[in-house]
């Protein structure tokens, strides 16, 4: 893999083909656990872990597995990775485990993971697959955390509350009361808020893309119309 394609992978995972904002995959956890930053962070980490593990394993076994049973094997690997994550989280971060609830086991059905396994890891060698899993996980996680932060901020006026759930007792002090009002904008942390804030994030991304594109277009030459034509009937002698 050349460095440019790693750049391509990075760009894809983080922005151009961001799993959450563009591919619209893994929406359930995206919306369900982003009422606070810490929840988002927890699930982001878990998803990242599963994504890396599954991509790695799938890439390793890609030559062994036939098409017929490809999907079930992948699903099994993913489910195993999820269960391991679940057990570890239960053991070492029990409260967060409880808060994330069924969305932890539901990582199994997060379409990103199966999607990456099938679309990328299956066809690529280990390093690229690993990197792809990692960057996709980061891309998904970044949106998750961003969403969590926005919703927490709007809905409570604070950021990084309850970090001790993830980082141990010392993290309790990380809570940052950004602004203090008697009555925060509660809808942000309720279910509708999840949809609304996500919708606005997508719109924001679209807006940025449009202006980037316009800037790029201003620089680049216009494509040559019809330059990709082929002749249907023979060549002209």
């Amino acid at each position: 893999m050349s460095s440019t394609s790693y750049r391509q992978l990075t760009l894809n995972g983080l922005w151009k083909n961001n799993p959450a904002l563009v591919q619209l995959l893994g929406l359930c956890p995206l919306l369900a656990v982003t009422a606070s930053t810490v929840n988002a962070l927890g699930l982001a980490a878990a998803t990242l872990f599963v994504l890396v593990v599954s991509n790695t394993s799938v890439s390793l076994i890609r030559l062994v597995v036939s098409d017929t049973i490809r999907l079930p094997v992948f699903v099994m690997i993913i489910a195993a990775a999820v269960t391991v994550t679940e057990l570890l989280m239960q053991a070492y971060s029990y409260e967060l485990y409880q808060i994330l609830g069924i969305f932890l086991p539901l990582i199994t059905t997060n379409c990103i993971i199966l999607g990456r396994a099938d679309a990328f890891a299956r066809k690529n060698a280990l390093p690229a697959a690993l990197y792809d899993g990692f960057i996709m996980g980061i891309g998904f996680g970044a949106v998750l955390v961003l969403l969590g932060a926005i919703r927490e901020l709007l809905g409570t006026g604070a950021l990084f509350a309850d970090m001790q759930l993830l980082f141990g007792a010392g993290a309790e002090a990380w809570r940052w009361q950004v602004f203090s009002v008697d009555y925060p904008f509660l809808v942000a942390i309720l279910p509708p808020g999840a949809f609304l804030v996500t919708g606005c994030l997508i719109a924001l991304k679209n807006q940025i893309d449009t202006s980037l594109e316009q800037r790029a277009k201003a620089k680049a030459d216009a494509p040559v119309a019809g330059s990709k034509r082929v002749r249907v009937t023979g060549t002209v002698s």
Partner: protein, 203 residues
């Protein structure tokens, strides 16, 4: 048996998953043979929507190859003769977002037909070989002519003609082809036609 399994968690897990896995695998193996999917009917449906100009502007030799490419996941915005309408129809069929026409493949133009200026034609038959829909009649060394109803306006016959005697003329013109245009959004609802000039000219 049960008791041993409960005592041996690893063994129990192994047994349970092995059992499920074997069952599942067997089922799928069975299904794979029993219910193989044949062909890709979607490309037929796609081909039915393409304009069949057979011009190759999409980068494929003809509409059918392009339809197969779309079925395999190629972009749907590469066919200039179909233009916006075809893209919309494809988007509907495939349930994807329509995109604007990819200008690298050309721009949407008014439909045309080829017209051979018959007195200049030298009867070289080159255009006949070029025409993808056999819309040109003629034999060696006699004047050729285009069956206007069959011509798709692909313009493939233009280049081969050694004497440049083929023109592309608009296919739809005149009052018989006219229909009302969609009203423009947010535009004034009237036109002012200065008829004085026209009146004077006609008179």
């Amino acid at each position: 048996m049960m008791a041993t399994l409960i005592d041996q968690p690893l063994l129990a897990a192994l047994t349970a998953l092995l059992g499920l896995g074997a069952l599942f695998g067997a089922l799928l193996g069975f299904a794979a043979i029993r219910f193989r999917v044949e062909g890709n009917p979607i490309s037929e449906q796609i081909n039915a929507l393409l304009p069949q100009t057979q011009c190759g502007q999409c980068g494929y030799p003809g509409c059918r190859p392009y339809s197969e490419a779309i079925a395999e996941g190629d972009a749907i915005n590469k066919c200039p003769p179909g233009g916006e309408e075809t893209i919309q129809a494809l988007a509907d069929l495939l349930d994807v977002e329509p995109q604007p026409l990819d200008a690298e493949h050309g721009v949407e133009k008014e439909p045309v037909v080829a017209l051979i200026r018959e007195d200049e034609c030298i009867g070289c038959t080159k255009c006949i070989q070029a025409c993808p829909v056999d819309a040109i009649l003629g034999a060696a060394k006699v004047m050729h002519t285009v069956i206007a109803d069959e011509c798709t306006g692909c313009d493939l016959c233009i280049e081969p003609c050694p004497v440049d005697c083929i023109d592309l003329v608009p296919r739809k013109s005149g009052i018989g082809f006219w229909h009302w245009p969609l009203p423009a959004d947010r535009a004034p609802r009237f036109d002012v036609i200065a008829t004085d000039a026209a009146t004077r000219d006609a008179a």
